[in-house]
Symmetry: C2
Subunit: 195 residues, 2 copies
DNA sequence: GTGCGATTATTGTTGAAACGATTATCGTCG
DNA sequence: CGACGATAATCGTTTCAACAATAATCGCAC
């Protein structure tokens, strides 16, 4: 069934030692478990918050991205259509900027549109691409969350010193270096700067 | 609609500063984003591996837990039934040991049972509880994965030094301290020692 | 311009998770 | 004993994510 490269035959020799390994088998495994567990626990509370307004962490992430570009001057949409149009972003680019890489941005925009938090707009230059824009209601709901989100972050991580947080961020970034599924972290300098 | 305590009125005053904040708004937010992003990327490859045998990360996690108790001497099930019974674990305890806290362990066991990787067994002492046990096929599929899982971990995190990994684990543990959704990390010393 | 590969988005379908309500059993108190 | 609250598991339903297949459009070669 073609294990699709992930289950390919990679035998470096450490295969034989399974079963008689250290309590945590290896430092890498312990680090991975801590990573997954911490992420799950911390994201849990935020997810519940978002859900009160029909959002998931992914859709919230998209709204943050759209808000980030909504106020830019040379934004793509400002030259089309009526003056009330807000700057948007093609769906593919949205997918590239998301913190958790997710295919199927279409469905997420569907939900945002149903909630009236985003709109679609076809690009005239290239009619394949669709721009998604945040609406006023979307800005409102984001604004409504802003304070609470920051406070939750403070509650969760405020007990760590600034240097610890920076250190953790640095280590996490380094941990990502080797992973890059598919290869190379987008040379196009994609900014994943918002939730 | 009762925001269920997560959206409760928590006004510490930093609410007002939204919008004019630093590039990363705060070190806590940056740390959170790095955490989520790294976890998503690293877990992605493992999930695809597990999926080749019909498992998710959660069901794999359960199998690891069940394997961990399958060989224990004073195991709960050894005193019931036939001699071929393998030690198992009540569903609730499984849920407590999982890396990502998940309700509805029932459904996960359903899948494992359908895949013939686990079996159910009702406890005679307390007929409410169900013990789940790993089967030989379950042990096989785990064994089949063991080497690859370790190698993926090495690929992902092998470029970091041991001290970096330990440091990262320590920071992640500390990050979890304050979160504890619902309060207090189970005083019953639950071990989350396997994937 | 016509056809062909590549890109963008959508859709269909399947599988998994979240949440709440429900059932069965236990322990205990009267 | 019989009722009550508590606990363990299951089920119903809705929502969400993953994967593959499809449709529309573009860029370019010819």
């Amino acid at each position: 069934m073609k294990p699709s490269r992930v289950a390919s035959t990679r035998s470096k020799g450490l295969a034989a030692e399974i079963g008689k390994t250290n309590p945590f088998q290896s430092a890498t495994q312990e680090a991975y478990l801590n990573l997954i567990r911490t992420a799950a626990i911390l994201s849990n509370q935020l997810e519940r918050l978002f859900k009160t307004r029909g959002l998931s962490e992914s859709t919230y992430n998209i709204l943050r991205i759209l808000r980030g570009v909504a106020g830019l001057q040379g934004a793509p949409l400002s030259k089309y259509g009526d003056e009330h149009t807000r700057a948007g972003l093609p769906l593919t680019e949205i997918g590239e900027r998301m913190i958790a890489p997710v295919p199927d941005v279409t469905r997420l925009i569907d939900r945002l549109e149903r909630l009236a938090f985003a709109t679609r707009r076809r690009c005239d230059k290239d009619r394949r691409v669709i721009y998604a824009c945040i609406t006023d209601a979307g800005l409102d709901v984001l604004h409504e969350f802003d304070a609470t989100v920051m406070e939750i972050h403070e509650e969760h991580l405020g007990h760590m010193s600034r240097s610890e947080l920076e250190q953790m961020s640095a280590l996490l970034e380094k941990a990502r270096d080797a992973a890059n599924p598919g290869g190379r972290e987008e040379g196009k300098q994609a900014r994943k700067d918002t939730i």
